[in-house]
Amino acid sequence: MTLVEVSEPRRSTQPGAAAGGPPGGLRSRVLGAVDLRRGGIVLPFIGLFVVLAVTSPPFLTKDNLLNIVDQQASTLIPAAAATLVLVSGGIDLSIGAVYALAGVAAAHFALVTSPWLAIALALLIGLAVGLVNGVVTTIFRVNALIATLATSYVVSGIAGLATGGNIITDFNRPAFADLARTSFLTVRTSTWVTLFVVLALGFLLARTTTGRYMYAAGGNAEAARLAGVRVHQVRIVAFALSGTAAALGGVIDASRVLSAQSSAGTTLAFTVLAGIVVGGTSILGGQGAVWRSVVGVLFIALVGNGFDLLGLDPLYEQIALGALLVLAVGLDAWTRLRRT
């Protein structure tokens, strides 16, 4: 234990900090919001936003901005939920597979029953996969990376079997498109759903006991358990939410194009993880926030949108994204290093 090293410089800080008294505490709380290290992606996001607004006239229009958000609905919703998984110390690679299966299931059931029931059934499937992920990674102690990779194969396989590899189309069931194509107060329903889910999950993580326990489980599972936290239960909840959210993403996209296929979403898990990590949530667990993932996902979306609007070669987009990802994770590792 390097107790001595850690406490040495810090202990002597305290008189100084105490001398500042409550103003010091207040200042740090106020600054905390914009503290570069903790704020992470916020400043680059604002910077990129300003650059795009200045260089590309069509960028700063209500249509373009709403479009970006709406296009990201099926990434933002899973990202918000997967943030809870990461914070509680897990990782979910089955997002893409669940997204595809749920899309296929919703499209299929919408052919034979009411669209709302079809959507509910698809979400239940996502919930079930999430529960399996949660149980396998906690009670059976299988590493989350491996467990969710395994379920993603199984789930993909089921989706392929169910469709026989064909696209399911719902063009004769226009009611199924209500979820993604209708508008309320000039904003698309799917955007409203996204907003609701993101706010709800953000609230869950930041303000409820469950959220606190997620931070505890991810930060130090052993300590959390000794303090009486049901670590397994909390992680299962996170996985269940992640599965359900991935399913919702799949349903929204299926509803938008009135069709679904089992090969969709193959890279979704990685896009979602990239957004979360770029936002500043640690892949090691115990740290992060839903709003960060939202900013991270939108940041990546802005990069893409910028490439489109400015007419840059889209091949560079991937390179830029890769570099961003390494930068984000490197920054996380670096700040951890500096703190210990």
Partner: protein, 511 residues
């Protein structure tokens, strides 16, 4: 340059070091005589570890001069220091668990021919080295399965195999049991007898007085005094470290009243590492579990609280028997535990102090799962004040607290659960002298409120100072029960060691 006995092996002149805006060392000047054992003492935060690290090249000073055998040197890494025959044995041991002792010692400098390690030559050199320095470790087992003490020896041998003349030992006895500490001291004396210079960074003043020739006392990054150890006593060192005389080390001993009810009863408990242990703890009583490292103390505590699955036996808290045990169930039945390792089992280091304090009672501070933050704040503040945690504010990360304050933070957490029984595993490990008394006060106050306290401790003095009863363990069994008020250190150590074969068995279990 001659390095005769008494000449300076190492001299620091006006060395200063800051971390960010914080002063860790301020113009420190000391002389370390060649062939001596030079101890660095001070409270946590006084700068003794920083000083040790500067000597070992782990940290580069901001200003000042380091003179080694008469020549000014500047180390930028432990590797450079080693090239000047200065080696550091850090608190965290750096052995390769899968390799044997000899392989670890010669790691990177293996005798080889065309890239192939000459194993026989390697073992021969290892034996020669062990003979030359007067101690060794059997080369049969992988280093990962050795006791901490042996792993430490491997590291010291490794430094010696690289011709180190000056060794910096950073808190070498922190993780050792009493008998192992004795052997460590022999080893240090043996190094000195062979002309090596040892810089010993240590918390343990008795150890310092026992083995050191010279001692430097640091306080707030400055040298209070530096000179021969002969004239020092524990009292004089503590006074120099704190800048004031230490109040009584232990609070008045608590004893349970006549006929106090039994709050914890363990019957015929068997678990891996625990052989048929029965014990009772009464309200208002502090019972200490003593014994060597690996004697089964921690295993027993873990079996009681359900961290370790027990094979048979029963545990009753306040008269009601507990079935399947888990920390959560036990908390709700009135048994709380302060684990051995604050950092690994106790705290959420990155989370605020406040969250750490209320973690176990968060459900009570919430409505429909929504955390009532005002109630949380009030409860946390109150609990932190009760145990006197000193933090800039309750919003800072637990990381930023000193060892003593982190420990108090854990007390705040368990006190909020209002348990009938508290099990505290090594409650003062890594806590400096000044804060220790505060922990003893907390334990005593807890017992005085009519609760039971089971303390597990390697520190025999501590056990004798606070416990009303002492249970000594060996090889997973309770082998002696002593009265805290009348027992002596000899009694406890004798019971812990008793027969030498038992010791060997215990040593094996430790790994």
């Amino acid at each position: 340059m001659p390095e005769g006995q008494g000449g300076a092996h190492l001299e620091l002149r006006a060395v200063s070091k800051r971390f960010g805006g914080v002063r860790a060392l301020e113009s420190v000047s000391i002389q370390v005589s060649a062939g001596s054992v030079h101890a660095l003492v001070g409270e946590n935060g006084a700068g003794k570890s920083t000083l040790g690290k500067i000597i070992g090249g782990v940290i580069t000073p901001d200003s000042g001069e380091i003179v080694l055998l008469g020549r000014p040197v500047r180390f930028h890494s432990p590797r450079e220091a080693l090239a000047h025959r200065v080696a550091t044995i850090a608190q965290e041991l750096a052995i390769v668990p899968g390799l044997s002792a000899a392989e670890n010692v010669y790691l990177g400098i293996e005798p080889r021919r065309r890239g192939v390690v000459r194993r026989r030559e390697l073992r021969r050199r290892y034996r020669e080295l062990c003979d030359a320095v007067g101690f060794g470790v059997p080369d049969s087992a992988p280093a990962g399965s050795m006791r901490t003490a042996d792993q430490q020896k491997v590291e010291i041998l490794r430094a010696l195999a690289r011709d180190a003349e000056l060794l910096v030992l950073d808190e070498p006895s922190a993780a050792l049991g009493p008998a192992e500490v004795e052997r460590l001291h022999e080893m240090i004396r043996s190094l000195r007898a062979r002309g090596r210079t040892v810089v010993l960074v240590s918390h343990f003043l008795r150890e310092v007085l026992e083995v050191a020739d010279e001692v430097t006392v640091l306080r707030d990054g400055r040298v209070v005094r530096s000179g021969p150890a002969a004239g020092e006593s524990e009292g004089s060192l503590v006074q120099a470290m704190l800048g004031r005389p230490l109040e009584q080390t232990f609070p008045p001993r608590v004893t349970p009243s006549e006929g106090a009810p039994v709050v914890l009863s363990v019957r015929h408990l068997r678990a891996p590492g625990v052989e048929d242990v029965s014990l009772e703890l009464r309200a208002g009583e502090i019972v200490a579990l003593s014994g060597l490292v690996g004697s089964g103390r921690t295993e027993l505590a873990e079996a009681i609280v359900g961290l370790r699955r027990s094979v048979s036996g029963s545990v009753e808290v306040a008269g009601s028997r507990l079935g399947r045990r888990s920390p959560r169930r036990l908390l709700s039945r009135g048994l709380a535990m302060i684990p051995e390792s604050r950092k690994e089992q106790g705290l959420l280091l990155d989370r605020p102090v406040r969250e750490n304090a209320v973690l176990s009672v968060l459900d009570e501070l919430s409505r429909l799962s929504y955390v009532r933050r005002r109630a949380e704040r009030r409860t946390a503040t109150e609990a932190l004040r009760r145990v006197d945690v000193r933090a800039a504010n309750a919003g800072v990360a637990a990381n930023a607290l000193s060892g003593g304050n982190q420990q108090k933070l854990l007390f705040a957490r368990v006190l909020l659960c209002e348990p009938e029984v508290l099990v505290a595993d090594e409650p003062t490990r890594g806590v400096d002298v000044g804060a220790r008394r505060a922990i003893y006060d907390l334990l005593t106050a807890f017992a005085a409120e009519g609760r039971g306290v089971l303390v597990i401790s390697s520190d025999v003095e501590e056990v004798l100072g606070i416990a009303s009863r002492i249970l000594v363990m060996r090889s997973g069994r309770l082998v002696a029960e002593l009265e805290g008020a009348t027992a002596t250190e000899q009694d406890v150590v004798a019971a812990a060691l008793l027969d030498p074969e038992g010791l060997a068995g215990v040593a094996g279990m430790a790994s």
